[in-house]
């Protein structure tokens, strides 16, 4: 899915959108000419590694969910390459395995050349000799075809110094996890491996590897042209710049918009009447009550009060006619099925938690069920090779906290939902059925 973009955001004052084409160009084909007209030619630096200082000043952090400072990662890869005398590789991560997120697919559809520019620039920054763009097959739009076309146009004009290899992510929740991604590229199953060593030290083919979310690379491509001060002209001092967000409200349809970091959450959620709730970050994210959400902004410094993080920018407002416990139980069942099944604490805890949540969601659950969920969550968090159990248990805890009064209703055999139509998007848990991937 490439979601509808929220075109009310274009603003001469804020200078947004930056990454996405302006609303006036909604119907123009976003080809290489359109990109060059708007942004100019890709500005390679005179020497490798020179861009890193600008990235540090800009304060660009990863937009894939981790929010790690990009300059530190770039430097780590360079340092590892020097120390081990290996040539690094760069992977642009467009897997977007989070079902509730549509920003990367939208970005790749509307601004592929910014991502491709950023990929070349990141490669130059770390003196890499190979670049790969890893994307997920999309049901509504053939993103792969669009990217092949874009890469071809660039090849005809000799824009890319390193030819771009395209790779397709399997339709699994963990396929975008950085070690799972590298395993897939190496011809193995797309499941995580345990770190240490970090992939910046030993990654693909044992060389230092930089894996970056496609949105991060797009920001990089603009900072290289317009400088770090321009980047910092929106956002906050601690969390500068803009970000893409995927919002869902009453109708459940995803809308992708580019917003400044620090924007009030209210601007993204719409009205938040009493008893409403917001899911921030995605399925490893955090449920927050509507009343708490009123006071928060889209910045980690604000969200941490509610134990939430910006993550990959998913903001979902639960409609008042749905039950948060029912929706959470549906998601956790999916998350349990998506465990790689490699680590004892994860593959034991998650299915049990899912079954218990289904019991709570169904009403009149057994004594001890909530205690079990809490105990299993405590046992699972931090004891897997990746953050799947941590993220899942964080999501579960936030649901039990935010929907505490609903739990009491369920205990008494009642539920406040008046609609039983599933709301949160969940792919069919099989790689065969990509039709239902949203």
């Amino acid at each position: 899915m490439t979601a509808a973009t929220d075109s009310t955001q274009s603003d001469a004052i804020t200078g947004l959108p930056r990454l996405l084409p302006p609303p006036e160009e909604k119907d123009r084909k976003q080809d290489l000419d359109a990109h060059l007209e708007r942004h100019g030619m890709l500005p390679y630096r005179e020497r490798d590694g020179v861009l890193i200082a600008d990235i540090e000043t800009a304060g660009l952090t990863g937009r894939g969910g981790g929010a790690f400072p990009l300059h530190r990662k770039l430097q780590a890869v360079r340092d590892a390459a020097d120390k081990r005398r290996r040539t690094p590789k760069v992977v642009a991560n467009g897997a977007e395995s989070e079902p509730a997120s549509g920003k990367d697919a939208t970005l790749l559809w509307l601004s592929p050349h910014l991502v491709l520019d950023g990929l070349q620039l990141a490669a130059q920054a770390v003196a890499a000799d190979a670049v790969i763009l890893y994307t997920h097959a999309n049901r509504k739009h053939d993103v792969g075809e669009r990217l092949r076309e874009a890469i071809n146009q660039r090849r005809l004009r000799s824009i890319d110094r390193i030819p771009v290899e395209l790779a397709e992510a399997p339709a699994r929740f963990l396929a975008g996890q950085e070690t799972a991604l590298l395993n897939h590229l190496a011809g193995r199953a797309a499941v995580p491996t345990f770190m240490p060593p970090r992939i910046t030290e030993r990654g693909l083919n044992d060389v230092p590897t930089l894996v970056q979310n496609v949105e991060t690379l797009a920001h990089l491509a603009l900072i290289a042209r317009k400088g770090p001060r321009w980047f910092r002209s929106v956002g906050t001092d601690e969390e500068p710049g803009s970000m893409l967000t995927t919002m869902r409200r009453q109708d459940g349809q995803p809308k992708v918009a580019e917003v400044p970091l620090g924007i009030p959450l209210k601007a993204l959620t719409g009205d938040l009447p009493a008893g409403s709730a917001v899911l921030i970050g995605g399925y490893h994210g955090t449920w927050v009550s509507g009343s708490d959400a009123q006071r928060l902004t889209m910045a980690n410094s604000s969200l941490k009060e509610a134990q939430a993080r910006v993550g990959a920018g998913v903001v979902i407002t639960l409609p008042s006619d749905r039950c948060g416990l029912v929706e959470t139980a549906r998601v956790v069942r999916y998350l349990a099925l998506e465990s790689a099944g490699q680590c004892g604490p994860c593959f034991n805890a998650l299915p049990r938690i899912a079954a218990s949540l289904a019991e709570v969601a169904g009403g009149r659950f057994r004594k001890g069920t909530l205690d079990n969920i809490e105990r299993w969550s405590g046992l699972a968090a931090g004891r897997g090779a990746c953050h799947h159990p941590d993220g899942t248990t964080r999501f579960v805890s936030s649901a039990l906290r935010t929907f505490a009064s609903e739990i009491e209703r369920h205990r008494g055999g009642r539920c406040s939902a008046t609609s039983h139509e599933p709301f949160l998007p969940i792919p069919k848990a099989t790689a065969l059925d990509e039709q239902d991937w949203i």
Partner: protein
Amino acid sequence: MAEKLLVNPIDCKGHAACAELLPEAITLDEWGYPILDPRPLPPSLERHARAAVSACPTLALRLQRLP
């Protein structure tokens, strides 16, 4: 020099030889997987820790040197 216990959760199959040999720092969860004391190992336990590491049938247990 200070060391702490580290387990590769993918290689770990829950044989529990480690918990047997180092009960002071390793307990088992309800499914038989090791819960490691996260603190640096006291010197008195280092010999036993090395025995536990050697005893792991899948080589999942390691000692991590602390800076």
